[in-house]
C-alpha cells in the first residue's frame, strides 16, 4: 500500500518502466491503481529502431505484474519521508 501511495505522489512525472520482456518505456505517469498497473502518456520506447512495434502508440496501460523496474525522478521522491513511512508501517505490523 505504501508503494501505491508513493506512485500516486509521482503522477505527471516522467518515469521509465522496464518490463519483464526487456522493453523499456519512458513516459509521463498518468495514473496507478492498487495492482500497480501503470498508465503512461507520451511514451517513447528505448531503442526504437529495434522495437518499431509501438511506433503509432502514444499512451499505454502496463499491467503491474509484468513490470520489472520503475526508474523514478530522484528529485521528486522525498526519501526522508519514505524512510519514516516505512518505519511507521513496520512498527504497525510488529504491534499486530
Amino acid at each position: 500500500m505504501l508503494i501505491f501511495s508513493v506512485f500516486k505522489t509521482l503522477t505527471d512525472q516522467k518515469v521509465t518502466v522496464e518490463l519483464k520482456n526487456d522493453l523499456s518505456i519512458t513516459g509521463v505517469l498518468k495514473s496507478v491503481d492498487q495492482f500497480l498497473n501503470i498508465r503512461l502518456d507520451k511514451i517513447e520506447v528505448f531503442d526504437e529502431a529495434r522495437h518499431p512495434h509501438m511506433m503509432a502508440v502514444k499512451n499505454c496501460f502496463i499491467r503491474g505484474s509484468v513490470v520489472r523496474y520503475v526508474q523514478l525522478p530522484a528529485e521528486h521522491v522525498d526519501t526522508q519521508l519514505l524512510e519514516d513511512a516505512t518505519r511507521r508501517e513496520a512498527a504497525a505490523q510488529n504491534k499486530r
Partner: protein, 95 residues
Amino acid sequence: MATLQGYVDHRVLLILQDGRAIVGVMAGYDQKSNVVLSDSKERVYSVEEGVEEIPLGLYLVKGDQIVLIGELDEALDQSVDLSTIRAEPIPPIHY
C-alpha cells in the same frame, strides 16, 4: 485509478506475455483486465520479411496474458507501410 475506460471503442495494440502483438478495437474489458477485441488482427514480425497481418476477428484475451495495452494513433498507424517493417518479434516475458 489506472482504468481502461478511455480505450473502449478505440483501436488498440495488445502485447501478450508470449510476445504476440494483436491490434483491434476494444469492445469491452473487466476489472481483471480481460479484454474483448473486435475486428482484431495479429501482427507477426520477422527480420526476413515484412509484417504479416493475420485476421482473428472477435477475440477475448485473458487479463493475465496481457503485458501492455496501447492506444493507436490511427492516422499514424495507417501511414506506416507494414510490409516495409522488419523487426525481431517482441521477446516473451521471462520471470
